[in-house]
């Protein structure tokens, strides 16, 4: 019976609000835009952060990436005085890291050489990656055709290459992919497989792989191309000796990533007086991105709170006006025998109907706007379920909180005075 009475109250509330359609709609606008803006903003923020997080996760959350880097002073003095720049990670470093820590699953070295791939008349600037088979485990990408490098290729010093989808498309148009010969810097390599590449130029994060990669066995790279790179530019030449450009370390569990990274750093610093390497820990970046997202959410939450507060005050204002306007109705109801509680219930229901209707329209708008943004601006957006649920709950809350005062005021009117009210 309470239930049917509640339903009758709600129906009566809607009916009363419908008497002043324009006013009710205008009153709801605060809630509509408040809730709509919150959901839309959260969706855009969530989309952006998901994109960043995805990119970080592609680096592998359990990985540590150590890259060679020219030390600052050496770079500054430039090619003029120094005839040969020697820096970076050593083959020894790889062994030391691999052997020193039992929290490490595997290590993957990479030697990066700039080269030109040539098939017939077609050429493509490539980044040769001399590495070991476990590269393909760590930087796991879809295999499109053929196979990836194996230990046998290493054992046989095989002149084989794994191309990316991009490289294969550019170099091998109209040719049988597998078994084709690609000429790279005076050497011929047999294509054994093609993999997908996840790198994107627009991303702020650098993935270990690039779309111009060509993967060859590390020992082949070392033998054929040596450790010295010569760069010629405007008449001068720079010679660089770098043994390994990158070491990717996979740690056995995410909990050990940060401690292992710190330990490796300590160990490397013993052997490298100049800081000629750089460590990047995707997990740390992930944490950082999450922290940024938290800050962003707090800012959004504050904006949302303020807009909902304003929406609530708007509703309260109108309800106070409504109480004044309907003073006589309140008097009549009290004279008939309505208790204060029932008057409070009536006005509270009206306020909640207003705020919840506004909230629901707001949720609709909040879902529509991100959809339009994705459609037309091609930005990723994610409308999260919790933001929708939270908005619904907040709508009810705003109705109750901001409806309470007008409702109490209505209920506490003296029935005699209220009846005399013109």
């Amino acid at each position: 019976m309470m239930n049917t009475r509640f339903i009758r109250n709600v129906r009566l509330g809607i009916k009363t609000l419908m008497l002043h359609k324009m006013r009710s709609i205008l009153t709801m606008l605060g809630m509509v835009f408040g809730v709509g803006a919150v959901i839309a903003m959260l969706a855009v923020g969530e989309g952006a952060s998901k994109q960043a997080l995805d990119q970080i996760l592609k680096l592998g959350a359990d990985n540590i990436i150590i890259s060679s880097q020219q030390p600052m002073d050496q770079a500054a003095s430039g090619a003029m005085r120094v005839r040969m720049n020697i820096y970076g990670l050593l083959y020894n470093d790889l062994d030391r890291i691999t052997q020193s820590f039992d929290t490490i699953n595997q290590t993957v070295p990479a030697k990066l050489i700039r080269g030109q791939g040539r098939v017939g008349g077609r050429t493509l600037e490539l980044r040769l990656v001399g590495t070991t088979p476990n590269w393909f485990e760590l930087v796991s990408r879809d295999l499109l055709t053929g196979r990836v490098m194996t230990e046998l290729d290493i054992a046989h010093n095989a002149n084989v290459v794994v191309l990316t989808e991009h490289g294969a498309r550019k170099l091998l148009v109209g040719k049988t992919t597998l078994g084709s010969q690609v000429r790279i810097n005076q050497g011929y390599f047999t294509v054994i497989g093609v993999i997908k590449s996840e790198s994107s130029q627009s991303g702020t994060m650098q993935t270990p792989d690039q779309e111009i990669d060509a993967y060859i066995p590390l020992n082949v790279a070392k033998e054929r191309f040596g450790d010295i790179t010569v760069t010629r530019s405007s008449g001068s030449q720079t010679r660089e000796l770098v043994e390994l450009h990158q070491i990717i370390v996979q740690v056995d569990s995410i909990e050990h990533v940060e401690s292992t990274a710190a330990a490796i750093e300590r160990m490397l610093s013993l052997h490298h007086p100049k800081e000629d390497y750089r460590m990047s820990v995707p997990l740390a970046l992930l944490r950082q991105a999450e922290a940024t997202q938290r800050t962003f959410n707090i800012v959004l939450g504050s904006i949302a709170g303020i807009s909902l507060l304003i929406g609530g005050i708007g509703i309260m204002n109108i309800m106070l006006a409504s109480v004044t306007e309907r003073t006589r109705e309140i008097g009549i109801r009290r004279a008939i025998g309505a208790r204060k509680k029932q008057i409070i219930g009536q006005f509270l229901i009206e306020t909640v109907v207003l705020s919840v209707t506004g909230g629901f329209i707001g949720i609709g708008i909040g879902i529509l706007i991100p959809w339009l943004i994705t459609m037309f601006a091609d930005m990723p957006t994610v409308v999260t379920l919790w933001s929708v649920l939270l908005s619904g709950v907040i709508s009810i809350g705003v109705g109750v909180v901001f409806g309470m005062y007008p409702a109490m005021r209505a209920a506490n009117l003296d029935p005699i005075v209220a009846l005399r009210h013109e």
Binding site: T4, R8, G331, I332, G337, P415, L419
Partner: protein, 222 residues
């Protein structure tokens, strides 16, 4: 059911028999409205005693007063005081709604009462679509719907023309004959003439109580 003792205003001592029909008159400020508010349990005496059906009102809480109004009293006002956003039927059902009675029951009862006041074809209308006399009939129907023992009427014909006013008075007389106690405030002698007793107030005191010998008979002028 019992007697109604009133100690009100200044030294007012009054016994109202169940089933009697009273007209309260007096100049404005004479205390007749306060009297009606007290009788209607909208107000509590600051001192003294008012008992309705043997129950003293002075010590009751706001909720208890509400319940007494809901169970035992019906109000009819000068300006009808119907709730504009509700239909005739919903207005009549209002006291039953607050009693928590099921919607199917209240609808049935509203129809029966509407028929009694001659408005069964107007149930779905809004109050604003009715004439003044019809609106007052709806108000009376609403006051009757909870089957109260006492009807309190505050200038029930004040906003009506003479003929309509008479028809409303005939309706009240009829209800009186059916056993309702009726307390009516009026300043029109012709209207007061319908009551059994005429209570004249002055400066918060009872000036006189006159028993009407030449009452207008119920239905005689209809």
């Amino acid at each position: 059911m019992g007697d109604q003792d009133v100690h009100a205003l200044a030294g007012v001592d009054l016994n109202i028999e169940r089933g009697s029909f009273w007209a309260i008159s007096g100049a404005s400020g004479s205390g007749k409205s306060t009297m009606l508010n007290l009788l209607g349990c909208l107000d509590r005496p600051t001192s003294g005693r008012y008992a309705l059906e043997g129950q003293s009102i002075a010590t009751l809480s706001d909720d208890e007063l509400s319940d007494i109004r809901l169970q035992h009293l019906g109000f009819v006002f000068q300006s009808f005081n119907l709730i504009p956003q509700l239909t005739v039927q919903e207005n009549i059902e209002l006291p039953l709604f607050y009693q928590g009675i099921d919607a199917s029951v209240t609808a049935e009862r509203a129809c029966a009462i509407a028929e009694r006041v001659g408005l069964s074809d107007r149930l779905k209308h809004r109050p604003t679509e009715l004439s003044g006399g019809q609106q007052q009939r709806v108000a009376i129907a609403r006051a009757l719907s909870n089957n109260p023992s006492v009807l309190l009427a505050d200038e029930p014909t004040g906003n009506l023309d003479t003929a309509t006013g008479q028809s409303i008075m005939n309706l009240l007389t009829e209800l009186h004959e059916q056993g309702k106690t009726i307390m009516m405030v009026t300043h029109e002698p012709e209207i007061a003439a319908y009551a059994q007793f005429q209570l004249v107030m002055r400066d918060g005191k009872i000036e006189s109580i006159i028993e009407n010998k030449n009452r207008v008979a119920g239905g005689a002028l209809a």
